[in-house]
């Protein structure tokens, strides 16, 4: 059985969700190739070629692949699937965008956001905001799977696979890229960060969010996250949302400040190793999953925490 992994990248760097997806792929088969679809992404392909256990790397480049258009990815991947029994894609918003198109074109189910591989046709995936884990067995000849990266360890570097350039598909006729506004990150990326500091509705304004959450994150070398309420209110960019329908994170340390702990938020962070909650309401549901809870007004607690970290040599 041969497995294709579609790399997650931004044309410049390979994201570690790719290495994690390779780990999942290697549980299906030893014959794993990586597809890098993008524009000016040779460096990404070279990085992918270094992942241990990878047979070869396919590189396809065009403007539309660089823009991540789902129609282009479908047109590229569907014919390639003649040579593969499964295709695995990291469950990022990009992967979630195009992967189901591939499944539909192959007339197979998509197995969404798997967190474990039981065998080559049986997988475990969360449903109902992570309140249940479903074990499903696929009867389809080819498997189309998205992978929750936080559930798998990154495959190590040390390989030296060949990079093979393949032809890109024709540009889609009916979809046109207009523009893209990406947030410049000066901090670690949310999905892969070791520590995440998240703020909620309690912040009350974007200024307060920046004044309270960001310095603490910087002191800890952490990524910044937010609840939906904080994002909806414009305190933080949409890309910061942690939860059922935002990003799923599983850092070593997750610090939730002024977040109540709604089911949908917990779905995105409850697999973190250590959870800290700071909330003035002792009954807030977030305390049910917190390893360490501090019942306090964040306005006093966060400055105290900054001072305590300084005192501890941080």
């Amino acid at each position: 059985m041969a497995v294709l992994v579609i790399a997650d990248h931004d044309n410049a760097t390979l994201k570690d969700s790719t290495e994690k997806t390779v780990t999942a792929a290697l549980k299906l088969s030893g014959d794993v190739d990586i597809l890098v679809a993008g524009k000016g992404a040779k460096g990404v392909a070279d990085a992918a070629a270094k992942i241990t256990g990878v047979r070869k790397v396919l590189l396809a480049e065009s403007d539309e692949l660089g823009e991540g258009l789902a129609e282009s990815l479908e047109a590229l991947v569907v014919p390639l699937m003649n040579g593969y029994d499964a295709v695995l894609t990291p469950a990022t918003s990009q992967g979630k965008n195009f992967s189901p198109r591939i499944a539909a074109k192959l007339d197979v189910a998509q197995i969404s956001e798997i967190v474990d591989v039981v065998d080559a046709s049986t997988f475990i995936r969360p449903i109902y905001a992570g309140n249940a884990l479903e074990t499903v067995q696929s009867s389809d000849a080819k498997k189309v799977i998205t992978v929750r990266p936080t559930a798998f360890k990154a495959a190590a570097d040390g390989g030296s696979a060949k990079v093979e350039t393949i032809a890109p598909p024709a540009a889609p006729a009916k979809t046109h890229f207009v523009d893209q506004k990406l947030v410049k990150l000066e901090r670690p990326e949310l999905s892969g960060a070791k520590i995440v500091v998240s703020g909620g509705r309690a912040m009350g304004s974007a200024e307060e969010f920046q004044k309270v959450i960001e310095p603490l994150a910087d002191k800890l070398g952490a990524a910044v996250g937010a609840s939906r309420a904080a994002v909806d209110a414009g305190y933080a960019p949409n890309d910061y949302q942690v939860g059922q329908t935002g990003k799923v994170v599983a850092p070593e340390l997750y610090i939730a400040i002024g977040i109540s702990g709604a089911i949908q938020h917990l779905a995105g962070m409850k697999d973190s190793k250590v959870i800290v909650a700071i909330n003035k309401d002792a009954d807030a549901p977030i305390f049910q999953v917190a390893d360490f809870g501090l019942v306090a007004d964040y306005k006093a607690a966060v400055p105290d925490l900054m001072a305590a970290l300084t005192a501890a040599g941080k």
């Binding site: 979630k96 969360p126 449903i127 249940a132 889609p172 979809t175 890309d239 005192a311 501890a312």
Partner: protein, 248 residues
Amino acid sequence: MKVLVPVKRVIDYNVKARVKSDESGIDLANVKMSMNPFCEIAVEEAVRQKEKGVVTEVVAVSIGPAQAGETLRTALAVGADRAILVQTSEDLEPLAIAKVLKAIIALENPDVVIMGKQAIDGDNNATGQMLAALLDWPQATFASALELAPGKATVTREVDGGLQTLAVDLPAIVTADLRLNEPRYASLPNIMKAKKKELVIKELAELGVDTAPRLKVLKVAEPPKRGGGIKVETATDLVANLKTAGVL
């Protein structure tokens, strides 16, 4: 311009799902059910586009048991013009739903389909993209802004790292993200009026679509529980505990 809005009846988003003790599925007996929140956003968007005068007709469609008719009544109460229920007692997978929707689209010929990005029960986030592929239509998923013009939709999408804007030729599939709009509540007079709007029921078998499941659910289990935590009194205590836990 005609809009089709597929809506799904799911467990209410405020209810915590409970696993059945025999691990065969989720216990939905006596559980509050509602319209999937992302579908509410999709309906709201279609209705707003109609209020702006861009859209002339909003048709809601649901595939599910007879009770999904209530979900369609909700869509009618917030402004959909008419509704179609494709009745089935089976729980269909996204690929099957997409095929059924394709059959409905062949009958209705909408200019645009606005649907939810994800149903909060199965958390698949797949049906819209599958439908677009089956129809060979362009797609604009995870929409946070939508502008409709004759023959064209301009859609701002929530993507990794920020926002992307696409222009797609119609007909197209748009899937709604949380920030597309804030759905309204149905007023009592509108709930009453909705009872008189057209709701057509079709049996799934009438459509002649292959809806055979591709996945067999072997088990539905509870996720591992987190060990109980402790309350700390001060920030200094907290830091000491985090050091002991080895995460600082």
